[in-house]
């Protein structure tokens, strides 16, 4: 967790460079799943990230885990991209560098902003079907079979490839990284670094300019609680508590505590 406010008031963007430096846990689960499927199906796994140049470390980690290659999308013009602009950029990169993809796996959300939007929006950009918050993926022939728990339903779904799946954070045991993998990752690695020009993207369509949403400001919520102090006879205090915090407590315990004569 970043210790200072990762907010740049000049550019009105969150400074993700301060908060990054580790692979997002949900994305790690997605990679885990991809590597398992890759081994089983004899498929190539490409790890893709968009971020500041230091995000290359994450691709090295992915390669150490077993990914075949990495694609880093980095460009100052991308700073301040919201999920709309981010998914647009990722889609253009995938169209150029992975045109024959069968399956895209993403984490279901990131730990910094938790929007959970980039995966589904990337699927829309690419015009492919998708499913979110998936726990298990198997591939048979040209079809992905998925299992997920969604809003109290255990669902089994089928989608024809190519498709996109966002992967839940539920535990897949982390992969053992072999020494040879580490050597591979820190030697000459197959990581391609591309910018906006390489993707043929008009810079006006990405970054803060290309983002429909705009951050007005960022604040640290009041950490100190109000700390209301009540004194007096127990019966009086309890009445005061329930009157003053009636709606709050009703909401929290999901039961109406209004006095019957008040209705």
């Amino acid at each position: 967790m970043a210790s200072e406010l990762p907010w740049d008031p000049k550019t009105r963007t969150l400074r993700r460079d301060l908060a990054e430096g580790m692979m997002n846990p949900a994305c790690k689960q997605a990679l885990e799943l991809a590597l398992g499927l890759g081994q089983k199906e004899g498929a190539q796994v490409t790890a893709i990230t968009m971020g500041p140049p230091m995000a290359e470390e994450i691709l090295r980690e992915a390669i150490a885990m077993g990914a075949h290659r990495g694609l880093l999308i980095t460009d100052p013009a991308l700073a301040g991209s919201d999920t709309y602009a981010t998914s647009f950029t990722l889609a253009r990169a995938i169209e150029i560098f992975c045109p024959d993809f069968d399956l895209i796996l993403t984490g279901c959300h990131t730990t910094d902003s938790e929007t959970a939007q980039v995966g589904p929006q990337l699927a829309e950009e690419l015009g492919i079907a998708s499913a979110a918050y998936v726990d298990e993926v198997t591939v048979e022939g040209g079809t992905a079979r998925l299992r997920r728990v969604s809003d109290g339903f255990l669902e089994t779904l089928e989608i024809d490839l190519p498709c996109l799946v966002t992967v839940n954070t539920t535990n897949r045991s982390p992969r053992y990284v072999p020494l040879s993998g580490l050597e591979d990752a820190f030697g000459e690695v197959n990581i391609l670094s591309v910018g906006v020009a390489d993707l043929g993207i008009d810079p006006a369509l990405v970054g803060a300019d290309g983002s429909p949403t705009r951050i007005v400001d960022v604040t640290a919520p009041r950490s100190g609680k109000e700390n209301v102090v009540l004194t007096g006879a127990p019966k009086k205090i309890v009445e005061e508590l329930l009157e003053r915090f009636e709606s709050r407590i009703s909401g929290l315990i999901r039961q109406d505590i209004r006095k019957s004569d008040a209705r």
Partner: protein, 333 residues
């Protein structure tokens, strides 16, 4: 044919209790926003045999319901619902679309936003209208350590998702009336690309202290085993669980299972009642994620009292009894 009056749409997510609730909560907030904006509160309902929900949404604030009813919509389908919402929004041009942040809503809303080429803010904890008539969306970032205020200045509609429980629904009004706009299922709608092979309800997660939303915690200040037992009565009334500090467990007032603390159970209730607990760090480390805290202690300077939202300076046992009595009167479950 865009509507003459700006419209605020709430996506009718009716599948089960919490989805239904979040829709009602959004209708309530939309009603406040509509007043500021001079707008009309509308709900969308996609499904089959949905009369119940249409009536429910009107009773909770919707003045207009856009209804697409067709056998093909009998099962929740993200693909079809996204396509329908896209078409409806293009035709009627709502100014705002609000969606509950259920698993379904979190997949549905981003895709709708993308198709409509507009912005979306996830998991808003606040929604307001500013002096320019823009929807100001307050959302947590970095695990809730920061709050960001976000607007969508140019693109329309402005879209936001909101978690269940953030807003309070307005009471059911049987007398409320609303217009129902029936729309035929478009025959040129592309087929669902996702095949639902099977769907079954999952068993509810068994309730225990670690995941309880309501916890009543007691410490040495309860005075005796007999008095401590009243905490179970209070917890039962509220539908909560009982936790205890180390001294209370050592005195055998409560089982080891109930022990809350740094090296023991960590609890994250939405509301915590704390009785006769001074607040040693070994205990408070286990309750850092508690929401609303009501603490009772004779000593106003106790650490537990300082970290409470409401600190009641009184005898824990007496307040416990008074609370039981008062809740018995007020709760009619």
């Amino acid at each position: 044919m865009p509507a003459q009056r700006p419209e605020i749409w709430v996506f009718g997510d009716y599948r089960n209790y919490f989805q239904n609730r979040v829709t009602l909560q959004l209708l309530s907030r939309a009603t406040d926003l509509a007043e500021k904006r001079g707008a009309l509160v509308c709900a969308t309902v996609f499904g089959w045999d949905t009369g119940e929900w249409v009536g429910e949404y009107i009773a909770h604030g919707a003045r207009k319901v856009y209804l697409v009813e067709d056998r093909r919509l009998g099962r929740y389908s993200c693909d079809l619902y996204v396509g329908l919402m896209e078409r409806l929004a293009r035709r009627y041009r709502p100014e705002i679309i609000l969606v509950g942040a259920t698993s379904f809503g979190r997949e549905f809303a981003p895709r709708v936003a993308k198709r409509l080429k507009t912005g979306l803010t996830a998991d808003c904890v606040g929604l307001d209208i500013d002096e320019n008539g823009l929807l100001v969306q307050t959302a947590p970032a970095f695990g809730g350590n920061l709050l960001t205020r976000i607007v969508t200045p140019q693109k329309r509609p402005q879209m936001a998702t909101v978690r269940p429980g953030v807003f309070r629904e307005i009471p059911h009004d049987h007398g409320a009336t609303g217009e129902i706009v029936r729309i035929d299922f478009p025959e040129d709608m592309p087929p669902d690309r996702v095949r639902l092979v099977s769907s079954e309800r999952t068993l509810p997660v068994p309730r225990h202290l670690g995941n309880a939303e309501i916890v009543v915690c007691g410490g040495r200040g309860m005075g005796s085993k007999g008095r401590f037992r009243n905490l179970y009565e209070l917890a039962r009334l509220l539908g909560g669980e009982v936790g205890a500090t180390r001294p209370a467990v050592y005195a055998r007032w409560a089982d080891e299972d109930a022990l809350v603390g740094q090296a023991d159970k960590h609890i994250r209730p939405k509301v915590l009642f704390s009785f006769g607990i001074s607040g040693a760090i070994q205990h408070t480390a286990g309750i850092v994620d508690a929401g609303f805290i009501i603490a009772v202690n004779k000593n106003p300077k106790a650490a537990m009292m300082k970290m409470a939202d409401v600190a009641i300076v009184a005898d824990a046992h007496q307040v416990c009894l008074a609370l039981i009595k008062e809740f018995k009167k007020r709760l009619r479950a």
